[in-house]
């Protein structure tokens, strides 16, 4: 027992060494924690900054705009462009509307042609004016018939024949 006690004493760390060890471990933990916290802060800060950018762009779509702001925006959301395109299409439609075109006809001293002044020519293969096509017709969905495994449809005779053919083939390869 005494020997054990002495042995323990002999190999015991000095208290100051143990303190230094503990301090070192704690410092190491602190440094690790600081590194992790730094990385975390860096990542989260960047995520927050990107999140804010996204939110600002989203606000351009659904939020409010100041009367004096946003004159030099680089990025314009798709939705805003779509709104502008729709607006321009409507303006174009107005400029080519029936009433406006009639005014232009009047300004140009044109009059509608009377039926008796039209000369008709027979043009073989002529196709009447077709209604508008704004998009292609839907692609027909081709449902391919499922391929049935031969095992489910071959007869016993077919199977025996196939096996015999395979065996002969293998034998043919094996014999030089």
């Amino acid at each position: 027992m005494d020997n054990l006690h002495q042995l323990t004493h002999a190999y015991s760390q000095a208290p100051w060494r143990r303190q230094m060890y503990m301090i070192g471990v704690i410092l190491l933990l602190l440094v690790c924690a600081a590194i992790v916290a730094g990385i975390y802060l860096n990542v989260t800060a960047r995520a927050a900054a990107v999140g804010r950018q996204i939110q600002e762009m989203q606000v351009r779509v659904y939020g409010y705009h100041y009367l004096t702001g946003e004159s030099g925006e680089t990025y314009v959301p798709i939705e805003e462009l779509e709104q502008k395109i729709a607006n321009l299409n409507s303006q174009l439609a107005y400029l080519t509307s029936y009433t406006i075109m009639q005014e232009r006809v009047k300004d140009m001293n044109l009059t509608p042609i009377a039926a008796d002044r039209i000369a008709y020519l027979e043009v073989p293969g002529y196709v009447d004016r077709q209604s508008t096509s704004l998009a292609p017709p839907p692609v027909p969905v081709v449902v391919s018939a499922s391929v049935i495994d031969p095992q489910f449809k071959e007869s016993l005779f077919d199977w025996v024949t196939e096996q015999a053919r395979k065996t002969a083939s293998l034998l043919g390869e094996a014999i030089p």
Partner: protein
């Protein structure tokens, strides 16, 4: 030899004195140090216990809050600041005419509001808005400026963060406001007295799309309109509202930048291509307006259909509303006037109905075109005496003569020969008494009294045969007569939707046939009979170079005290060119004042319209085609 003597202080850990066996090392700690350590330990322990208790209390409180009744309230309070609800509306689908001309699109408008906390000068905002929006119908009243100021002031008092001040502001008006804002911002910082420095700070705007009709009132009765809430009203807008509007989505948009909510990818509303031809629609409306002016009629309808497919090429009805100014609806449609008379107003059509009576009789074999009838000027049916329109007796007539002279007595006899059961079966096959299924909102079914109904009398067979005592809509009439006009006996479903564009594909429904109420042979015979009738009467409906078939109609108008003796409904139905039908036209003039007869007021309208139709539809005259066929 040891460097240290007994009793000398030895640094611990460096030189260890080996104790003798059985001897316990005696480490002496000063009394003062021992007491201090005990005291420090006690204090630390107490502090630890206190902190521990505080931590436990906090944890207990946290757990308690999680399960407390107030939890939901706290959560909702937090949500108020953490997220905002936004409803995203997909762009409404466009509407085109059959050749791709935009009839209904979208335009940018702006909602103007104030972020109250940022407002520096409510007076400036009120003044600027009242000046810029002076031309805006909704805001050009005298007290608008005061109202704006009051709204902002109230919001400031109540702590409201945002108030809406104007809506449907045009891009031009917004540009003016922006100009005002920049000018105010550039003012020098001097003393502006009690009024303060003018500023539009706090004024914000939000863009959005609003329905826009570039053709204004053209085709308005077909299109309908979209109201302030974005809902389609009447016509195509109402019928296909779900299709056009797409599916709006409500999303809680979080304010937490770590949890950015994605703006939903909205499925845009479908675009619709109509069968309506803008040029034909315009021609129909112009001819109708002229017809109303010439005849002094209260209102009217012109329908143009391709009888081969049921496609409606034009639907003109009065009155018409500019759908861009839909708020005038109540001023335009007074006295329960339907938005589209063609589909929503039934009436007694009069003699145009004889086309169908004769079709039923010919098809059932009750009569042939050569069947002779001696017109004595009156006929008894169900205890009621029927007379001709002129109260005259026309003597021996074949069926062509009966139709050409529009003899009520003859047609009553024809209906009798057909038999009530057969006659009404045919009328049901023609679709009367039920809606045609046209893809326009608000279709009326009309009323066809049938034998067995409590209010049906035998005399109805006679009056119904010439279009009295039966309530039909113009669209029902044109749908029924399409079976005659297309010379195939096929009754087509009238429709205005040519195709639909959705998800990048254009879907075109196939033409639908309601049924075959009559045979193709009957249709051809009747068309020939009616063409000859018009030619025999030198009708005003005839068009030079084109052979057309048709029938006039003059109907007495029922009043609470009986049929009016002064007011009529004048109608005309006609189609052509005979043998290769391309158009079917139905005209109804309500209460014409210059003449009560359809042959006088409605037939010329048909003539005027067909003259323009043949040009717009590239229909060569009969002579050209005959010359081409027989070189």
């Amino acid at each position: 030899m040891s460097r240290y003597t007994a009793g000398q202080a030895v640094p611990m850990g460096r030189i260890r004195k080996k104790p003798a066996l059985g001897e316990t090392p005696d480490i002496k700690i000063p009394v003062s140090e021992k007491a201090g350590q005990t005291l420090t330990g006690w204090r630390f322990n107490l502090l630890a216990i206190l902190f521990g208790l505080a931590g436990v209390m906090i944890i207990i409180q946290l757990v308690r809050l999680q399960f407390s009744p107030e939890r939901t309230e706290f959560v909702s309070q937090g949500d108020q600041y953490n997220r905002t609800l936004h409803i995203f509306y997909p762009p409404r689908g466009d509407i085109y005419d059959r050749y791709g001309r935009l009839l209904a699109g979208s335009t940018l408008v702006y909602e103007i509001g104030a972020q109250v906390d940022n407002v520096d000068n409510p007076d400036s905002i009120a003044f600027a808005l009242s000046k810029v929006l002076a031309g805006h119908a909704e805001y050009n009243y005298a007290g608008y400026s005061d109202d704006v100021y009051s709204v902002i002031h109230q919001a400031q008092l109540s702590g409201t963060s945002y108030v809406q001040l104007a809506d449907f502001v045009t891009p031009d008006e917004l540009t003016q406001l922006q100009s005002w804002a920049r000018n105010y911002a550039n003012l020098p910082d001097v003393d502006y007295g009690e009024a303060g420095k003018p500023s539009l700070n706090g004024l914000v705007y939000r863009p959005r799309l609003q329905r826009y009709y570039p053709e204004n009132a053209l085709g308005a009765n077909v299109l309908g309109f979209v109201n302030r809430e974005g809902t389609g009203m009447f016509g195509v807008e109402a019928e296909f509202n779900d299709l056009l509007a797409g599916a709006p989505q409500s999303v809680w948009m979080t304010l937490d930048p770590y949890q950015v909510t994605e703006i939903p990818q909205l499925k845009a509303g479908a675009d619709i291509v109509l069968t309506i031809d803008r040029e034909i629609q315009a021609a129909a409306e112009e001819v109708l307006d002229k017809g109303l002016t010439d005849s002094g009629a209260d209102g009217g309808v012109i329908l143009v259909m391709d009888p081969n497919t049921g496609e409606m090429l034009a639907i003109a009805s009065t009155p018409r509303l500019n759908p861009n100014e839909y708020w005038n609806y109540a001023d335009v449609f007074t006295d329960n006037t339907p938005y589209n008379r063609a589909v929503s107003q039934d009436y007694e059509p009069g003699s145009v109905f004889k086309v169908l009576t004769m079709a039923a009789a010919l098809d059932s074999g009750a009569v042939t075109p050569e069947t002779q009838f001696i017109d004595t000027g009156s006929i008894q049916i169900g205890g009621v005496t029927i007379h001709n329109w002129d109260w005259g007796a026309w003597g021996p007539q074949d069926m062509q003569g009966c139709m050409a002279h529009s003899l009520n007595v003859c047609l009553t006899w024809v209906a009798e020969q057909t038999g009530a059961g057969t006659f009404y079966q045919y009328m049901q096959n023609f679709g009367f008494g039920r809606i045609t299924g046209i893809d326009l909102a608000g279709e009326a079914p009309g009323r066809l009294k049938l034998p067995g109904d409590t209010d049906w009398y035998e005399a109805e067979l006679g009056t119904n045969s010439f279009g009295q005592g039966v309530a039909v809509t113009p669209i029902q009439m044109i749908a029924a007569i399409s079976s005659v006009a297309n010379a195939k006996g096929e009754m087509m479903v009238p429709h205005v939707m040519e195709s639909m564009v959705r998800d990048g594909f254009q879907y075109t429904p196939t033409t639908q046939i309601v049924g075959r109420p009559i045979s193709a042979e009957t249709a051809r015979h009747l068309t020939e009979l009616l063409a000859k009738s018009l030619e025999g009467e030198s009708s005003d409906a005839l068009v030079e170079g084109y052979r057309v078939a048709g029938k006039t109609g003059t109907a007495s108008i029922a009043t609470p005290t009986g049929y009016s003796t002064t007011q009529t409904n004048a109608s005309f139905v006609g189609w052509g060119p005979v043998g290769r039908p391309r158009f079917l036209v139905y005209i109804w003039l309500e209460k014409p004042s210059t003449s009560e007869w359809g042959s006088v007021v409605a037939a010329p309208v048909f003539h005027d319209l067909v003259e323009r139709l043949v040009v717009l539809m590239d229909i060569p005259p009969d002579g050209v085609l005959q010359g081409s066929a027989n070189p």
